[in-house]
């Protein structure tokens, strides 16, 4: 089937707060789909529901035809997930990190070593496989996490803010690898970001969230055309996320970037 992911009126409430408000979208096989929005717009909550970490309050979602609540176990076999925080285990080597996930994702024992070697090579980490991850740069950790997420050849990969807190060179490298994932192995990717350059570089289609609601969805050209004849993507973002003084958002951006930098030992 061409549709790898679809949601219908997906909603999540925390008490009185509606973090995700009736979101309906779909993602086709082979796409890189971007979910954009300011910090606090509900992107991470949405990803958590799609990755079976959080149950929806209303509505439903399906990955590869499997419902994320009823068939959570099947969904988990189909997806790969790279969370926002740099979450590889610093007390293990890259190889050891990959070995654990190869086992947890049922990569057959006979194939394990070869597969670990393949993903390390694909992400350019072969020479660093036996170093402790705490000695890695942020960009290398991010590439290791992507390697971890593709070990079991998932149908759909979720990348939550894949380059937040990384320096420009690391960001470019991560982008290259994401593009190769799609080009070389036909991966379908659902990523969240609040960086317009990232969205324009990687995504074929995008949706924009504001305060839990989906305010726009379409190809990048469609979104630009809907705003104006000479609109660039920054204009699209500003238009659909509101141009009000969003000081909270700016602070949260900086705080998130600082947290990520602290974890790198910066």
């Amino acid at each position: 089937m061409p549709e790898v992911l679809c949601t219908h009126s997906l909603t999540r409430r925390f008490g009185d707060v509606v973090a995700v408000d009736s979101v309906t979208l779909s993602v086709d096989a082979g796409e890189i789909f971007g979910l954009l929005g300011r910090n606090g717009s509900g992107k991470t909550t949405l990803i958590r529901m799609l990755t079976t970490l959080l149950a929806p309050s209303a509505g439903n979602a399906a990955v590869g035809g499997f419902d994320v609540v009823r068939d959570a176990a099947e969904v988990r076999r189909l997806i790969g997930y790279v969370p926002q925080a740099l979450s590889a285990d610093g007390e293990l080597t890259a190889y050891e990190n990959l070995r654990v996930f190869a086992k947890l994702y049922d990569v057959p024992p006979a194939r394990r070593e070869a597969r670990i070697g393949e993903v390390l090579a694909f992400m350019g980490l072969t020479d660093h496989a036996n170093k402790l991850v705490r000695d890695y740069s942020g960009g290398m950790i991010r590439r290791l996490e992507i390697a971890q997420a593709v070990l079991h050849q998932p149908r759909l990969m979720f990348l939550d803010e894949p380059t937040v807190g990384l320096d420009p060179v690391a960001r470019e490298t991560v982008w290259e690898h994401i593009q190769r994932l799609r080009a070389d192995i036909g991966a379908t990717i659902f990523l969240t970001t609040h960086y317009m350059d990232e969205a324009e570089k990687l995504c074929s289609r995008a949706a924009i969230m504001r305060r839990g609601k989906l305010t726009a969805i379409g190809t990048l050209d469609q979104l630009k055309a809907s705003v104006g004849p000479r609109a660039n993507f920054d204009d699209v973002f500003a238009y659909y996320t509101g141009t009000g003084l969003d000081e909270d958002s700016a602070y949260a951006d900086t705080a998130a970037a600082r947290r990520a930098a602290r974890k790198l030992g910066g």
Binding site: R48, T51, T52, L53, L54, A73, R76, R77, I79, Y81, P83, Q84, A85, L86, S87, A88, D89, E91, L92, E96, V100, F101, K103, L104, Y105, D106, L132, Q148, K263
Partner: protein, 260 residues
């Protein structure tokens, strides 16, 4: 639970082995954790041996105390294990485990079993101290095997308990607060440093509800020449196993809550 029992245990082992590898990369905590049991045996044990205040039947006080301190050490290395999942939750590591097709109980059990490796390294140090202090140790293979199983069983039990606490309190500060509140009552309301016979009846009742009492009782029977179990070795193993199973089921149910 998805998949076969074989896969469940394979994944439990994958998690446990991962935790033990981390210890191998940085074993310093094993040394620092040995200080407390050393103090209890070398200072408290020797002082109270001279005082002869605590009636320990046919055993010298030092012999009586050694398995109690071994059990204390098992408790202490395990009870703070849960804090690691709070740290891992903050880093996003827990999220990745929960998104994988791994049964929650395997994630919980794997983490807790790894505390058994810590407990065994403490046991080696305590045995060494015991030899130095002249404790009459039973070196038979059967006894040593029994101690190994009991130490791992106890460590897994208290580690799972610690994990459940972490899922309830969710922050490091609250966890440390509760950890301190729990360890001392568990230790003093047991037969680790005095027999239950000399306790007032209210304390005796609590001691018999305390898993540490059964851990100590089993260790006292197995570690010492002339050591005897008050409650029966079979009862000790059965109680600890049953409590562990119950805690693992509760832990598996609660583990996803740490990320919500």
């Amino acid at each position: 639970m998805t998949g076969s029992p074989g896969r469940f245990f394979a994944k439990t082992w994958a998690i446990a082995e991962m935790e033990v590898r981390k210890l191998r990369h940085d074993p310093t905590e094993l040394v620092t954790r040995a200080v407390q049991p050393a103090l209890w045996l070398l200072v408290f044990g020797q002082v109270f041996s001279r005082v002869r205040a605590i009636p320990t039947g046919h055993l010298s006080y030092m012999d009586f105390l050694m398995p109690g301190i071994l059990a204390q050490s098992v408790l202490f290395v395990s009870i703070f294990n849960g804090i690691s999942i709070i740290w891992e939750r903050d880093l996003g590591i827990v999220h990745k485990f929960l998104v994988s097709p791994t049964p929650r109980t395997a994630l919980v059990l794997g983490k807790s079993v790894s505390a058994g490796a810590r407990a065994l390294s403490q046991a080696v140090i305590i045995y060494a101290l015991a030899v130095a202090l002249g404790v009459d140790i039973d070196w038979s293979i059967l006894s040593l095997a029994g101690v190994l199983v009991l130490a791992v069983l106890g460590a897994t039990l208290f580690s799972t308990f610690s994990l459940i606490i972490a899922c309830i309190v969710k922050t490091r500060e609250r966890f440390m607060g509760i950890g301190q509140v729990l360890t001392m009552p568990l230790f003093f309301a047991s037969n680790a440093i005095y027999p239950t016979e000399i306790m007032p009846s209210w304390l005796k009742a609590i001691a018999h509800l305390n898993p540490l009492t059964y851990e100590v009782d089993g260790l006292r029977a197995l570690t010492l020449v002339g050591g005897r179990s008050v409650m029966g070795l079979g009862v000790d193993f059965a109680v600890l196993t049953a409590v562990l199973l119950l805690l693992v089921i509760i832990g598996g149910w609660m583990y996803p809550r740490i990320v919500t």
